[in-house]
């Protein structure tokens, strides 16, 4: 493929991905926007003001979503890094089975998983609580973390740790000074992905949170369902924000040479 064709395809792809978001953005700053107008008749920041008014539940949901996503991704990393290390570094009996089992949450529909776990969490008293939601968010986030980390660890030379030990480092010092710096880029990518997956979770939050734990996706579905396009627009823009920030942060890591911004060059 020559450069110009590549650039054109890249632009087309970006347009296809960004175009659906444009009306959402416009809705959040429009007053009265009806068919067949191509652009809104009047512009306003009123939907945004309303979203952040004292009685609005959006600021609270923003905080809840952020905290749950942070907790879920931290927990997913704490469990996923050791698991990824085991899968990436060692060969053991039944490894293929474990890898397949890890894919299961990605294959099985969220609603089925959610309902199944709901029964268990009900007995444990974890339903309708933020803790329960954090835990259930491990279902979709943990596989991502494990897969990213097992890839990272399959390129990791554990001999460096033996070398560090021989040079006088205690096990915790090895972890901190040798292993973590070596896998840091992978940990960042895995953590950010886990954050995004948790951030945009709807079904699992709804089934386990029971409507008591209110996150942005829940509000977004409610407002969109009620036809309040201006509020849905604001919520969509808010939901989009961390994804864009994270994409900008990790683009270099994923593409190896700044895929997101360098692809059209």
């Amino acid at each position: 493929m020559n450069g110009r064709l590549r650039a054109a395809l890249g632009l087309a792809l970006i347009a296809a991905l960004v175009a659906p978001l444009v009306p959402l953005g416009l809705w959040s700053v429009a007053r009265g926007w009806f068919y067949p107008q191509i652009l809104p008749a009047t512009w306003t920041l009123e939907p945004w003001a309303r979203a952040f008014a004292p009685r609005s539940d959006i600021p609270g949901a923003l905080m809840t979503t952020t905290l749950i996503a942070l907790a879920a991704s931290a927990l997913a990393l704490a469990l996923g890094i050791p698991a990824g290390r085991a899968l990436g570094l060692y060969r053991f009996r039944g490894k293929a089975l474990v890898e397949l089992a890890l894919l299961a949450p990605v294959i099985v529909p969220g609603i089925a998983v959610g309902l199944g776990i709901h029964g268990v969490f009900l007995r444990l008293g974890l339903t309708n609580s933020a803790l329960g939601v954090v835990l259930v968010h491990l279902v979709p986030t943990l596989p991502y973390v494990i897969f990213v980390m097992s890839g990272v660890f399959s390129n990791y030379d554990a001999e460096a740790e033996a070398q560090a030990r021989s040079l006088g480092a205690r096990p915790l010092q090895v972890l901190w000074h040798v292993m973590l710096p070596a896998i840091a880029p992978g940990v960042m990518v895995a953590g950010l992905f886990a954050f995004l997956v948790s951030w945009s979770q709807y079904i699992l939050t709804l089934t386990i949170g029971g409507g008591r734990v209110v996150t942005l996706p829940l509000l977004l579905y409610a407002q969109a369902g009620a036809g309040r396009n201006d509020q849905a627009g604001v919520l969509a823009m808010l939901s989009l924000a961390p994804g864009l920030v994270i994409l900008a942060l990790v683009a270099r890591q994923i593409g190896g040479r700044g895929m997101a911004f360098g692809g059209t060059r």
Binding site: E159, R165, S166, G168, P181
Partner: protein
């Protein structure tokens, strides 16, 4: 510095057909450099890892200055192992790599900086402290790895194939550097290698390890010319083995009666001599041989010849080898001082 003693070490990796270490014993004197020589898979790297504390043996003891260290984790042993690959930490620059061990000991910043500078000077890399490992050549990386160990002033230095990743000309240079630093610092050193020449140049003594145990230890020339057994002789390229009986300084065999050097063992045995020791022409211990083949091997030519149902090989310079044509008869002298009898084989 530290005296190293290995006592009857045994180690059998789970699932392996043969033991990695079998009854391995070795003594390295204070300040001595011993080359642990052996083919790949003979267990020499495993031995280093056991001494460093990275693997525990099934049985036996590792002693530093007579005290067992088996209960100590690697970071608390006075031994530092330098890995074959160098294992520089990619995320640290050269100075940080060299200072790693001192930082782990929480030494004062000032002291670390001084000692790192000193160690880098020792390996002649004074100006490269700020470089990252990927900006270094293979030889420079190996020298950083060496400095990183030396800066700790260990009682015992363990080098795993320190030259194997280097080009031929760099090897000679690095070999001299290791030799010089070891002399200057007096650190007891055990260096593992598969290269006979390297072992002979580096080691005060050479220990030949085959199949998990030491077969012979001594000066390089002794292993070459006076092998302890057939395996040692074969490892050093020995190819002439003549069965017979030794009585009163004479060896009776299919080639006739050969005069032996003084002090040769008596009784049944196997006579061996190095192929390059054989000389063309008449004299003491001269035998008539029928040439079967010649093969050009660069500096020397390898000549195969037969007599009395025995096959011998000689390595000769091109001039001496020119007269040897397959099928021709030739006179070979087996110099008395080059003969060596392996008793009871």
């Amino acid at each position: 510095m530290t005296r190293l003693t290995l006592d009857n070490l045994d180690l059998h990796h789970a699932g392996a057909a043969r033991p990695a270490l079998s009854n391995l014993s070795l003594d390295v004197a204070d300040g001595e450099m011993v080359a642990l020589l052996g083919p790949s898979g003979c267990g020499k790297t495993t031995a280093l890892r056991v001494i460093a504390g990275l693997i525990a043996p099934d049985a036996g003891a590792v002693r530093f200055d007579g005290r067992s260290v088996l209960h100590l984790p690697p970071e608390r042993r006075e031994a530092v192992l330098v890995f074959q690959s160098g294992q520089l930490f990619a995320h640290m620059d050269v100075a940080a790599n060299v200072g790693f061990g001192l930082r782990m000991q929480r030494r004062p910043r000032r002291e670390i900086a001084d000692r790192v500078a000193e160690a880098l000077a020792q390996v002649q890399l004074d100006d490269l402290g700020h470089r990252k490992p990927h900006e270094l050549s293979g030889g420079q990386r190996q020298r950083v790895a060496l400095a990183r160990a030396l800066v700790l002033k260990p009682g015992l230095l363990l080098l795993d194939e320190p030259l194997s990743s280097l080009d031929a000309h760099l090897r000679t240079e690095m070999r001299a550097l290791i030799r010089r630093l070891q002399r200057e610092t007096g650190i007891t050193t055990l260096v593992v290698t598969h290269d006979q020449e390297e072992a002979a140049v580096l080691g005060d003594r050479v220990a030949l390890m085959l199949g998990g145990r030491i077969h012979q230890i001594g000066a390089g020339a002794a292993l070459w010319n006076r092998p302890a057994d057939l395996d040692v002789a074969r490892f050093f390229g020995g190819c002439n083995f003549i069965p017979g009986t030794s009585t009163g300084g004479v060896f009776d065999c299919a080639l006739g009666r050969l005069a032996l050097p003084d002090g040769a063992p008596e009784g049944q045995g196997c006579l061996t001599l190095r192929p390059e020791a054989i000389e063309p022409g008449p004299g003491e211990n001269a035998v008539v041989m029928r040439v079967t083949e010649t093969r050009f091997e660069g500096l020397l030519t390898r000549i195969g010849a037969e007599a009395g149902g025995l096959r011998l090989e000689a390595l000769m310079r091109a001039g001496a080898a020119r007269s040897a044509r397959p099928g021709a008869e030739t006179l070979w002298r087996l110099p008395r001082e080059a003969l060596w009898v392996l008793p009871g084989v």
